[in-house]
């Protein structure tokens, strides 16, 4: 994917020079191995700073929330899906954006550059779903990947084993909130964890509070999560919190035939009602 960067710079420079946009949101070279830093370029002469490689894990849609100016944004498949979410949820308007699409071949695992990041390995939408410019030819989408293998493994467990699995999963969580802050879906002005009237959740490190935080946050992402993996990429403790969101993603897919962020023309399932919505969970 390193070869994309020439084209990305060329497009960015043109957009800045002709005044189409005021800034370009992309990545610049990081100061430590296997990391790049999201950046905003406002001068055409600075486009040289832009980079693109397998370490652009964060989701750049997260940096668009509520912005007012005209922006060019570099978007891999998942970023573009979150941009679609943002447009549906009125966090940014389509007219403000020039989307520079990146046909993505997957990010590498931040701890092991030999393998793809877990969500990338099973990604079905590597190509941007919405874009104005492309920095390369579209790539072939992966086929015959089993997206929900992990979910089914847990589904097959006994209740107590499930409980223990998640207990173990969350060990080490310090509630630094990197996962929710890296998540483009988590833009609420006041997160439920910060509410005091009522206070939904204790603020300490009790495992119950930690679990409540993670699963409630996951619910808030139901039908919206694109499995971009930014949460896991951001976690300093390497917690695999996608085990929560994947289950919801699978259910949304199976119950409503829904995948988040594919089109701006359809309302998400938790935001709409159909007479044939499944209701097996209602007794």
């Amino acid at each position: 994917m390193e070869s994309y960067i020439g084209k990305i710079k060329e497009i960015s420079e043109r957009l800045l020079n002709d005044g189409t946009v005021e800034c370009v949101v992309g990545f610049r070279k990081g100061t430590v191995a296997l990391t790049n830093e999201p950046c905003m370029i406002t001068k055409a002469s600075d486009v040289q700073d832009l980079v693109w490689d397998e370490n652009c894990r964060l989701n750049l849609a997260n940096y668009l929330t509520g912005r007012k100016e005209k922006i060019a944004v570099i978007a891999k498949g998942c970023d573009s899906r979150n941009i679609v979410n943002h447009i549906i949820e009125n966090k940014i308007s389509r007219e403000q954006l020039v989307i520079i699409g990146v046909p993505c071949k997957g990010m590498v695992d931040k701890n092991n550059p030999e393998v793809l990041q877990a969500n990338c390995a099973t990604c079905l939408h590597r190509n941007p779903v919405i874009y104005d410019e492309l920095c390369a030819d579209l790539v072939e989408e992966q086929k015959e990947v089993d997206r929900y293998e992990d979910v089914r493994k847990i589904e097959a467990m006994e209740t107590q084993d499930k409980w223990a699995f998640f207990e173990d999963l969350l060990t080490g969580c310090t509630r630094c909130y990197a996962c929710k802050n890296a998540c483009p879906l988590c833009y609420c002005p006041t997160c439920f964890v910060d509410e005091s009237q009522p206070q939904w959740i204790g603020k300490g490190t009790d495992p119950i509070d930690i679990r409540t935080y993670h699963f409630l946050r996951a619910y808030h992402c139901a039908g919206r999560c694109t499995d971009c993996g930014a949460c896991e990429a951001a976690c300093p403790q390497n917690i695999k919190m996608r085990h929560f969101t994947k289950k919801l993603e699978k259910d949304c897919n199976e119950l409503y035939g829904w995948e988040a962020g594919l089109t701006v023309d359809q309302r998400p399932p938790l935001d709409s009602f159909k007479v044939d919505d499944p209701d097996k969970f209602i007794m």
Binding site: T31, V32, M40, T171, T174, C176, A182, K203, D206, A234
Partner: protein
């Protein structure tokens, strides 16, 4: 100052001897990384660790800690009156701590031990602890301790400093507390004090990453505060608490009451200047409502306010944890250099 040689074949035995007199804490493998924790009776500290994700500050300053208990039951004659939470301040020891983390605690101590007030929770834990350091012979690439008033053989804050000499440790007892611990472990063989200097020089030479901070003291705080770079530098920051929780010199905390039925605990929990709730007024006004304001606060505090307030250098020991763990690659080294080099337009 006494130097004791500890043959590695008597190391584990010595640790076992310490268990009766001390609660032991040390680095052990937890999942995919080393972390400090209280050792169970069958655990020994893993001295081969490189660096822990979280610092051992939690030994004296746990992330969540009860301060008081109370009863809300009006039939209880002492209802709504704060009672001291049960605490264990019996002797404890941290085995295998890095010099940067020990220096960090001595910096943090200045916050908790002041002329006017003494924080009893932090101070009692600190006073109860014997700190046994392990000098750092193979630093990480993000380490910049030698630029932050510290170093791989820095002794500040330790009671004992160990240097790994292959099949033995040379242990330098730096305080009476340290001597007492060595004796309690049964380590008595006379050591060789001369190994420390050359090993120190060798280790320091390995730290190639340098950060410039010499100008910070002389800068005008308002100039730095108003410097034009804060918005740009903070762009990538997602305002999570990773850096503040990983940082050995971050001490901010929150106080919360947690009730269960009619019983409750007043707790204190680590807090982070990165969150907007940290400074939100009751009126809804927030002096640090925006990301770059919180970002600026963190770096100004570490690299300027602290420097001015105590004249003890930076509130950073160069451990590199924030650099390694930041999800958005915010790098204190870059920011420190930038602040250090900043000249306000006159």
């Amino acid at each position: 100052m006494k130097v004791i040689k500890i043959d590695k074949n008597i190391w584990a035995g010595g640790i076992d001897s310490l268990r009766s007199g001390y609660r032991l804490f040390g680095p052990v493998m937890q999942g995919d990384a080393h972390e400090y924790k209280e050792l169970t009776s069958d655990e020994t500290p893993d001295m081969a660790y490189t660096n822990t994700r979280l610092s051992p500050k939690s030994v004296v300053f746990p992330q969540s800690e009860p301060m008081f208990t109370y009863s809300l039951d009006e039939n209880n004659p002492e209802h709504h009156i704060l009672k001291d939470a049960p605490k264990d301040y019996s002797p404890r020891a941290v085995i295998g701590m890095r010099p940067c983390d020990a220096k960090a605690l001595s910096l943090v101590r200045m916050n908790f031990d002041t002329e006017e007030y003494r924080d009893p929770f932090w101070m009692n834990s600190y006073d109860a602890t014997t700190f046994v350091g392990l000098a750092c012979d193979s630093p990480c690439e993000t380490c910049f301790c030698t630029s932050a008033g510290c170093g791989p053989y820095h002794e500040e804050g330790f009671d004992v400093l160990l240097s790994d000499c292959g099949d033995a440790y040379e242990a330098k007892a730096l305080t009476e507390k340290g001597e007492k611990l060595l004796a309690a472990a049964g380590w008595t063989a006379e050591g060789d004090a001369s190994v420390f200097e050359p090993k120190k020089a060798e280790a320091e030479a390995k730290i190639v990453c340098k950060v410039e901070s010499s100008n910070l003291r002389g800068k005008n705080s308002l100039d730095l505060y108003d410097a034009p770079f804060w918005k740009e530098l903070s762009f990538a920051c997602i305002n999570c608490g990773t850096c503040t929780y990983a940082c050995p010199t971050c001490w901010c905390f929150d106080i919360q009451d947690e009730n269960k039925g009619t019983e409750g605990v007043r707790m204190r929990n680590w807090d982070s200047c990165m969150t907007s709730l940290f400074t939100l007024h009751g009126s809804g006004h927030n002096p640090r409502d925006q990301k770059h304001q919180r970002f600026r606060q963190r770096f100004m505090h570490k690299l300027k306010y602290f420097v001015d307030k105590y004249d003890k250098g930076l509130m950073c020991v160069g451990c590199g944890r924030c650099v390694q763990q930041c999800p958005a690659n915010i790098d204190i080294r870059t920011i420190c250099n930038k602040m250090n080099g900043y000249e306000a337009a006159s």
